[in-house]
Amino acid sequence: MTGSDKRRPRLDLIGWSATSPFGIGRSAFAEGLREGRATATALDHEQWQVPAGRACLVPDFEVRAVLGKKGTRMMNRVTGLAVGTVGELLADMDRSALTPETTGMVLGTTGGSVQSTLDLTRGSLSGERPFHVEPGLIPYSVMNGAAGQVAIWHELKGPNATLAAGRSAGVLALSYARRLLLTGRAGVVLCGAAEEYSTARAWLARHTADPAAGEPLLGEGCAMFALAAAPADAPPAPASLVGVKAMTCSDGNWAAVVRRCVEQVLRDADAKPTDVWAVSPSGAAGPGGDAEQAVAEELAAAGGIEVPVAPLVGEGHAASAAFQLAAVLSRAETDERATGRLSLVTTTDEAGTVAAALLRHH
């Protein structure tokens, strides 16, 4: 029942793009991934008030340099990443085929821009009067600020949602997009997730680091996908969404829940482990990530390939599952062995979410 009902339309992935530590755009992502290029660089401490260290930043990403100076004066980084990535995605698509009113937009996040949120409150706490906050910051201090700006920039008037699910946000955005299509609320949905590097996020990561794993190497960026219900007679797109399943680990037994979630999404698709061509786990530190890794290794042993992403682009939090989806799509484009087979993306988040997405390559 989860996502493979035969009577239902095929949900095609008709486009994707990414703004990642590999660079801006889909080809930069594909190239970096193919080369297995590590992206960590030393931080500029004039820009980031964090302890000495490294991070995987989108190279040369300054919002106003990338998007221009109009309408970007107060735009925060996560919004710039999302607006820019959707722009790249739409540039590769036939815009005339998109109706603004039926084009949806679903953006996954951890908590919007914690930096902008805290900046606003810090302004209230340190200003001469507590309401002397920067008005231009207000829309960006709310979690749906980025998705709202994407809609304005790209004239997307269909369902517009922001969902917060940490590392699993990219897969849950896909799940939400799927339902918008199955219920006819949208004809095409642009969905994905974004996370910015910021001083606030770096400190949050430092304070919450798993002591065994140490402080994570942070990444950032955005990946967006165009998902559409295919007409019955349409030739298949390079990939389609077969199913999405999300569960919750309530009792700390990550290994059992990850396994159950993966088994369920395969069963719903009438698929066997040997049908899986590629598997991409989140690479998260801790028991959730370890459980994913164990399942990924089993599937690889059964004849699949493993597509790790986090070791190259860092801990992307909300962007991570979106990057994993981009990675399997990207790898499949240059590997004919993928044709007719499946890719599995798994993800876990400390809050308890376990999720898996299954794609078929055509």
């Binding site: 209230s124 829309p139 201090s141 709202g148 008037k157 949602a161 199955l182 999300a246 919750t248």
Partner: protein, 439 residues
């Protein structure tokens, strides 16, 4: 599920979705009974804000839940493990599940969609991080607080509270219409067959960030919230949570559940116009989508629960959009924010609970603090006193920053058309009793 995009009126019993549980924490009442009494009597939830230091603001009234005690509602979580907003979402979910007559074991045997809407997430924790940053720098942040601020926890904590595994838990961060988004998500998860039960609603806590932002925009009222009044001066921020249990009609009938209302449909649009200014045509389009999804015509709607913030812009824009869709003859249109304040992500969830109460209890909650209706807002806002009314269909508006509009349509259960169907004997008897009462 033959046609998941069919309108409400065309759906068979196994594909209709009903509300079988309600949980509510609000400044005018905790629990459905107290909340109902508050709505009926037009209680004002306003008091001076205590959640943060209001020194320096010329006025600082809000709608707080004084003496909120989540402890009786938490079984698996300890209070100190959750921030105030997650305490709200978990406690309201507990209350809703109890109201639905479901045990934890019964929930665990089903696939459960959890959807919690929010504007500001774990906002009091974020306020604290900001204060610590100003005082001594982020190196002094408390790790426990830092661990709690991911907004995904508002929904994941609900799933964990019931020990659920087969549960997709999602936090919808679509600001002030997020509660309606969550209800829509629950409805769709049931309609497409992804879930057997949905726990959906919204939660937010009083915070300095939100208050300062609205104050800076000149939209905080000095004393009371007066929606649609010619002298309205803005919103009052509030807090709370509302959670609804949704399930398919056949599931509710099979387990003999009490049915509060039917979720007929909903609509979503995005203005793509301005980050904080509402857009009339986009709101009207959202209403039309919601009515179409519900399979009802404007003349079928007996009551609109407006977004009704009490700001100059919202109330004029929204009432004009209503008149566009309702061909200048709208039904009575009330703003619950006059009583509850603007509870942000909880607002449309609390309003949906209120709509459900209005349907079952047969009255229209008033728009309080009202003196003289703004001639630019051409609606009957039911000033100050609730009125008895037999309601069949109610529309619940939610509008938000970023142009995120979400509108839910609820219907009385049983519906008129159920009287000549053979759903089950009880429903027939209820419907017949309704017909008698109306004639």
């Amino acid at each position: 599920m033959d046609d998941v995009s069919a309108t409400g009126g065309q759906r068979p019993a196994y594909d209709r979705v009903v509300v079988t549980g309600l949980g509510v924490f609000s400044s005018i009442g905790v629990g459905v009974e107290e909340f109902t009494e508050g709505l009926r009597s037009g209680r004002n939830g306003v008091s001076p804000i205590t959640a943060f230091d209001t020194t320096g603001f010329d006025h600082a009234n809000g709608c707080e839940i004084r003496d909120f005690d989540p402890a009786p509602w938490l079984r698996r979580w300890k209070q100190e493990e959750l921030g105030r907003t997650a305490q709200f979402s978990v406690a309201a979910a507990r209350m809703a599940v109890a109201d639905a007559g479901l045990t934890d074991e019964e929930l665990r045997a089903r696939r459960v969609q959890v959807a919690v809407g929010t504007t500001d997430g774990e906002s009091q924790d974020l306020d604290r991080l900001a204060a610590d940053w100003v005082a001594a720098g982020p190196e002094t942040w408390d790790p426990e607080t830092a661990r709690r601020v991911g907004a995904g926890r508002l929904s994941a904590a609900v799933a964990s509270e019931f020990g659920l595994t087969d549960s997709e838990a999602v936090t919808l961060a679509t600001a002030c219409s997020a509660g309606n988004y969550a209800i829509g998500m629950g409805l769709d998860a049931l309609r497409v067959g992804d879930a057997d039960i949905a726990l959906c609603g919204g939660a937010d806590a009083m915070c300095q960030k939100s208050f300062s932002a609205f104050y800076r925009l000149g939209t905080i009222a000095p004393d009371f919230c007066r929606p649609f009044d010619k002298d309205r001066q803005g919103i009052l921020t509030g807090e709370g949570a509302g959670v609804l249990v949704l399930e398919r009609l056949d599931s509710a009938l099979a387990r003999g559940a009490r049915i509060h209302a039917e979720v007929l449909g909903y609509g979503l649009t995005c203005d793509a116009h301005h980050p904080v200014q509402p857009n009339q045509s986009s709101i009207a389009r959202c209403m039309q989508l919601a009515l179409d999804d519900a399979g009802v015509a404007p003349q079928d709607v007996d009551l609109i629960s407006a977004h009704g913030t009490g700001t100059r812009t919202n109330d004029v824009t929204e009432s004009r959009a209503i008149r566009d869709v309702y061909d200048s003859a709208p039904p009575r249109t009330v703003s619950l924010k006059s009583m509850l304040g603007h509870t942000m992500g909880a607002a449309s969830a609390l309003a949906a609970v209120a709509c459900s109460v209005a349907l079952t209890e047969g009255f229209i909650p008033p728009t309080i603090n009202h003196r003289e209706t703004d001639p630019e807002c051409e609606i009957d806002c039911v000033p100050n006193e609730s009125v008895p009314a037999r309601l069949r269909v109610v529309q619940n508006n939610g509008l938000a920053f970023a142009g995120n509009n979400a509108i839910v349509v609820l219907g009385h259960y049983p519906a008129d058309s159920d009287s000549d169907s053979d759903l089950d004997a009880d429903a027939d008897v209820d419907a017949a009793a309704d017909d008698v009462a109306r004639s």
